[in-house]
């Protein structure tokens, strides 16, 4: 059911992509570094205990490996199971899947 027509690729050259997007992504990179340093200043051991930060660290490592970075990070953050919850635990998602939960182990 996927379209047979060729998708419109990005018209920009490699140099143009960097010229256009480098500064805003430099900013994002520094924000991530500042966030991780902030947490370390407050509690150097918290990142190792918090499942969200454990996944975050894996995602940062994934950035260094070329190819499908975004998809790999999406999958790192996602619940890979297909088992429904027996009852509602809370209304909102937390942003990362806790692989230590009962659902994850089942």
């Amino acid at each position: 059911m996927m379209a047979n027509t060729k998708p419109p690729t990005c018209p920009l050259s490699g140099a143009e992509v960097v010229d256009e997007y480098f500064i805003e992504n430099r900013t994002r990179l520094l924000e991530i570094a500042a966030f991780m340093d902030r947490l370390d200043r407050v509690d150097t051991e918290h990142a190792a205990r918090d499942f969200r930060m454990q996944v975050f660290a894996e995602a940062v490592e994934a950035l260094a490996v070329p190819g499908d970075r975004l998809m790999r990070i999406q999958m790192l953050l996602s619940d890979p199971t297909v088992t429904p919850l027996e009852r509602l635990d809370r209304k909102s998602a937390l942003g990362a899947f806790d692989r230590g939960t009962k659902e994850a182990r089942s």
Binding site: L70, S78, A93
Partner: protein
């Protein structure tokens, strides 16, 4: 350039936002039934909300030259409450003949509980029974992959489903393939934090093409941007994509999907529907 925002929770928004949307080219919005941010006390409260969506909100939008259409449902955030859901599902049919109601939505899953799945299945059956268009919410953040898989599985098993009349919304990079491969329309809702950004949405268009993909700004009561669709158009221009491609995604595509309801008629829609 004119555009349509197919997923805009305008009851959460001020008239200033309508004005900004009109100034940036918005000609029509479709508003899915939403969670208020707190649980409603019962069916009467939801019914009042349906009256707001079908009576008051179209008049407010019209003041700015924007056509307002709506979708009715128990929102996934409240769908774990089976008693409320059964009550609301009984009340929906009497609203379906109203002139601005396009279908059932947004339905789907939130935390992916068994109760939510039962309510979702019943809402899909209601839509099929009344031959309504369907707008599907997929869950947030870490729940999106699992919820999308189960939502599509329920659709696939439903008798009488017509995939081209279903838009699966809040798609992201890890869910869009399963949506398009099964013949559904995919919605990219542009958010500053929790879903997909205009930049990533353009990446998706570059990877998968524009067929059966729509973009929206959500306009909800949380962090969201009522002029996110024009920002998507700006991002397309930033990369030198042609105006014809931009128009296809932000106007012609929603016209094609929404015009499957005979009630949906928007200025310029007839010409757009003939394109391609």
């Amino acid at each position: 350039m004119k555009y349509i925002d197919h997923h805009a929770h305008m009851v959460s928004r001020t008239t200033d936002d309508y004005q900004h949307m009109a100034l940036t080219g918005c000609v029509a919005v479709t508003e899915p039934a939403f969670w208020a941010g707190w649980d409603r006390s019962g069916g009467d409260s939801v019914e009042d909300y349906f009256r707001q969506l079908t009576e008051f909100e179209p008049r407010r939008a019209a003041q700015f030259g924007i056509q307002h259409y709506t979708w009715l449902a128990v929102n996934p955030k409240e769908s774990d409450d089976r008693e409320l859901s059964r009550d609301v599902l009984k009340r929906i049919p009497k609203f379906l003949d109203r002139p601005t109601v396009l279908g059932i939505g947004e339905i789907g899953l939130n935390r992916v509980t068994r109760n939510e799945i039962d309510t979702y299945r019943e809402q899909v059956e209601l839509a099929i029974a009344h031959r309504q268009l369907i707008l599907i919410h997929t869950p947030h953040l870490e729940d999106k992959l699992k919820g999308s898989r189960i939502s599509i599985d329920v659709l696939t098993r439903a008798r009488g489903i017509e995939p081209q009349r279903v838009l699966v919304d809040h798609a992201e990079e890890h869910t869009i393939e399963m949506i398009l491969e099964n013949g559904y329309w995919a919605g990219l809702t542009l958010y500053p934090q929790t879903k997909i950004s205009p930049q990533r949405a353009v990446d998706v268009i570059e990877k998968y093409g524009p067929e059966r993909i729509c973009v929206a700004g959500a306009c909800d009561w949380g962090p969201s941007d009522p002029i996110a669709v024009p920002r998507f158009a700006m991002e397309m221009r930033r990369r030198h994509h042609p105006e014809s491609l931009i128009e296809q995604v932000i106007f012609e595509n929603p016209v094609r999907f929404l015009s499957q309801s005979p009630k949906f008629k928007v200025t310029g829609a007839a010409e757009a529907a003939r394109v391609g």
